[in-house]
């Protein structure tokens, strides 16, 4: 049986066919697991009217890394879906913030666990679910709730994705992924939720079978394209944040 490798030559080739109007999910929590190189390539590629899903829009820390805020500055983003649309400190002004305040980009703020579960649901064939999170808050105003076993729950819908941009530590040519430490975060869920899954990989991409099947975090059937991250300065790697 023939086996097709999922390895792509470079980041620009990986993102070349992302269309205007696509819904893009971007993995990562703080720096671990963020696909910096694929985000930078999407910036060069220039697709417009994107909906971007990630934990944050990025940009409050130094050094500045490729993030949704950069795509917003590029005029590529119509809407973001994030658990933070402001920084963790009230004094933070994110690169995203002035565009949002001027109404040039829309935002949907979603509690982090609800965001994760909406992605998981989209990949799991579950159209909606009830959660206790955000009941009684302004996020629940005007929305459907239901009392189950005496407790009130809020209806949340699955969040399907067109293209997921992910970062993994190891991959084999079949697309099986393994993450390291807290790099895993949203990445496996975005792989489940997306129709097209692009992954930047830190270690040299392995032949199929080199990762023990018991150690695979995301199965290769969910993954379409792999690009190995070159060493710096050609590739972008996590950097120690400056103290604030």
């Amino acid at each position: 049986m023939a086996r097709r490798s999922k390895v792509v030559a470079d980041f620009d080739a990986a993102v070349a066919d992302i269309p205007d109007g696509a819904t893009i999910a971007i993995g990562g929590f703080a720096q671990p697991g963020v696909p910096f190189n694929l985000v930078a390539a999407l910036g060069r590629q220039g697709a417009k009217r994107l909906t971007c899903i990630a934990n944050t829009t990025g940009g409050a820390h130094k050094p500045r890394m490729p993030d949704i805020g950069m795509l917003v500055e590029n005029g590529q983003v119509a809407k973001v879906v994030c658990s933070f649309t402001a920084g963790t400190r009230a004094s933070d002004v994110l690169p995203f913030t002035p565009y949002y305040e001027r109404g040039e980009v829309d935002a949907e703020i979603v509690p982090q666990g609800t965001l994760a579960e909406r992605l998981r649901a989209a990949g799991a064939g579950i159209p909606a679910f009830y959660t206790p999170t955000a009941v009684g808050t302004e996020l629940a105003e005007g929305r459907e709730t239901r009392v189950i076993n005496g407790r009130e729950y809020l209806l949340e819908y699955a969040l399907p994705v067109d293209v997921a941009l992910l970062r993994a530590h190891q991959a084999d040519e079949a697309g099986n992924l393994r993450f390291r430490r807290s790099q895993r975060n949203f990445n496996p869920l975005m792989a489940m939720a997306a129709k097209l899954v692009l992954v930047e990989v830190e270690q040299p991409i392995l032949p199929a079978g080199a990762i023990d099947p018991d150690d695979v975090h995301t199965p290769g059937i969910l993954v379409h394209r792999l690009v190995q991250v070159p060493p710096p300065p050609d590739g972008i790697w996590p950097m120690k944040r400056e103290a604030r």
């Binding site: 720096q31 671990p32 666990g113 009941v135 009684g136 808050t137 807290s182 895993r184 990445n187």
Partner: protein, 209 residues
């Protein structure tokens, strides 16, 4: 002398019972991971799926693949485990957190609190706060008793958009440790030199001994 942030962290850590699973939020609560707990074993959980992390990593030894909820590079303790975000929040919603410790802008006598949106802002920062507040067994808050301009943060009712209704167990401030009672706050402990009258003057609802 009001409590320093470190002393607030130490006071809340005294409430932890042996075997608890504890989630620490961004900012002040991260100080708690460094407080010595003696004979008690507590497991720290972070929203990004890290179960069993330890103190912040010494400079120069950081593992850039490993952060806590605040994005600080931390250490893993023996027995640690890592899961993805949906499993991490399944642990939260599933009621496995014995306590979550968070910063807050306001806490109210009815147990409501607010920590995700400031006055006049269009955006906000929810992170995992609403999930944790809704489903942890206890919610401990760590906050300054007053705003920078001296207004009370402990109120009859929150004025900012709330994070969750009626969930607060304890509030540690620079003046002491307080528990919402429905009508006001009960003093559980006072910082050295702080008086009941001082706490009453700094609080916008009744404070009981």
């Amino acid at each position: 002398m009001p409590w320093s942030r470190q002393q607030m962290a130490e006071r809340l850590a005294r409430e932890f019972q042996d075997g608890w699973i504890v989630n620490l939020g961004v900012g002040m609560p991260t100080l708690i991971a460094d407080v010595p707990l003696g004979e008690r074993e507590v497991i720290f959980h972070s929203e990004n799926g890290v179960i069993g992390y330890g103190p912040v990593t010494p400079p120069g030894q950081e593992d850039l693949h490993l952060v806590n909820a605040g994005g600080q590079n931390v250490t893993l303790l023996p027995g640690a485990a890592i899961v993805h975000h949906a499993d991490s929040f399944a642990l939260i919603r599933g009621g496995r957190m014995d306590v979550t410790v968070m910063g807050a802008y306001e806490a109210a006598a009815n147990g409501d609190f607010a920590n995700w949106k400031v006055k006049g802002a269009k955006g906000g920062g929810i992170g995992g706060a609403m999930d944790l507040a809704a489903s942890a067994k206890r919610v401990f808050l760590m906050m300054e008793h007053r705003t920078r301009d001296g207004s009370p943060r402990l109120l009859q009712r929150c004025t900012l958009p709330i994070t969750a209704r009626g969930v607060v167990t304890l509030v540690a401030t620079d003046l002491g440790l307080f528990a919402p009672t429905g009508e006001g706050f009960a003093v559980r402990d006072l910082a050295p030199g702080a008086t009941l009258d001082e706490a009453r003057a700094a609080t916008a609802c009744p404070v009981s001994d």
